[in-house]
Symmetry: C2
Subunit: 194 residues, 2 copies
């Protein structure tokens, strides 16, 4: 959805060629006419693990990828917002849910798709939520009912595991980690001990 070929220059419309600009170490998309360099950089996904009493809020995706699978509300961070504002905005867009007490909880790198997840832990302001346009269903889940085998993304599964481990310990701390392509094969399995 965010990816397509870079064949032409955004600036002047002329053709692109791959070359290593002066002082650079990497091949870049450079315009043959105006010289504009079209850098491509990782994108931030920001979202929320929303608590309410002893439950957490999950959204069933209505869009690809992973339509029909469950996830935490999250999406691409937009220009001119903070990561926290983006997390709250995505929670409103996908779950029509207002949140409070928002703290950074997890930073996960996914280098094979050039994404960085920045997930906040937050509390629901009131028991009001409903599916946004990118969700088929939104619901609060008790721990015993988490649909482990039907989660959309490995990173979300990892963060939920860390969350319940922290809950058992009674203390929450920032988690960081790396998600690899190979982890996807475990996505349909319930994690050990859960």
């Amino acid at each position: 959805m965010h990816k397509f070929d870079i064949n032409y220059c955004n600036n002047c419309g002329n053709e692109i060629r791959q070359e290593i600009p002066e002082g650079d170490q990497k091949l870049r998309d450079v315009c043959t006419q105006c010289g504009a360099i079209h850098y491509q950089n990782p994108k931030i996904i920001t979202g929320c693990l929303v608590e309410h009493n002893d439950k957490i809020l999950l959204c069933k995706r209505s869009i690809e990828p992973q339509s029909g699978k469950w996830t935490l509300p999250a999406g691409f961070m937009e220009n001119s917002e903070t990561t926290m504002q983006g997390a709250a905005r995505e929670t409103m867009e996908e779950a029509n849910a207002s949140i409070t007490n928002i703290n950074l909880y997890a930073v996960y790198d996914i280098p094979h798709i050039s994404q960085v997840y920045m997930m906040y832990r937050a509390q629901l302001k009131s028991e009001e939520f409903s599916p946004g346009i990118e969700s088929l269903e939104v619901a609060l889940f008790e721990r015993k009912n988490i649909p482990w085998e039907l989660l959309a993304f490995s990173v979300i599964k990892e963060i939920l595991i860390k969350y319940y481990e922290d809950l058992d310990k009674g203390s929450f701390s920032l988690h960081t980690g790396i998600i690899t392509a190979e982890m996807k094969q475990h996505l349909s399995k319930r994690p050990d001990g859960f």
Copy 2:
């Protein structure tokens, strides 16, 4: 350097117009011909606060913006790397310095320029470093010699203040914050108590 006008489609070279795509809430650059949507998203700057004995490593910038001012080694995160790999790469590129014991230390939003800083705290592997192509000079600074009035960026100044506060407390924790455009006016001032 990373910014220019989006006038033409990267994919097919035809003209762009601004419109709100179906299911979206924001004006985007959309191709009038192939329909490709050219999203623009915040970029991650990743880098390191490198310690060695009681000193920290600063680089004097050889490039704009803020050429001639001092900063921590940091730069745009690249596709296919982790934030930590990016931080180590930038430290090598700008200071020819190898680092170890790398931990996430600060996450700062700069919404007015759509950047997110992810800074790691690390230790120098050995007392070997030298200016990379984007640095005029690289040096280890004792606390009393930090060039507070000659720092390149507000975010770096904020992170250094947090660092010395943590050092006084004897414990380091992750810092998060927001840098506003107005903070730039304090850049040439030594912070209170330093």
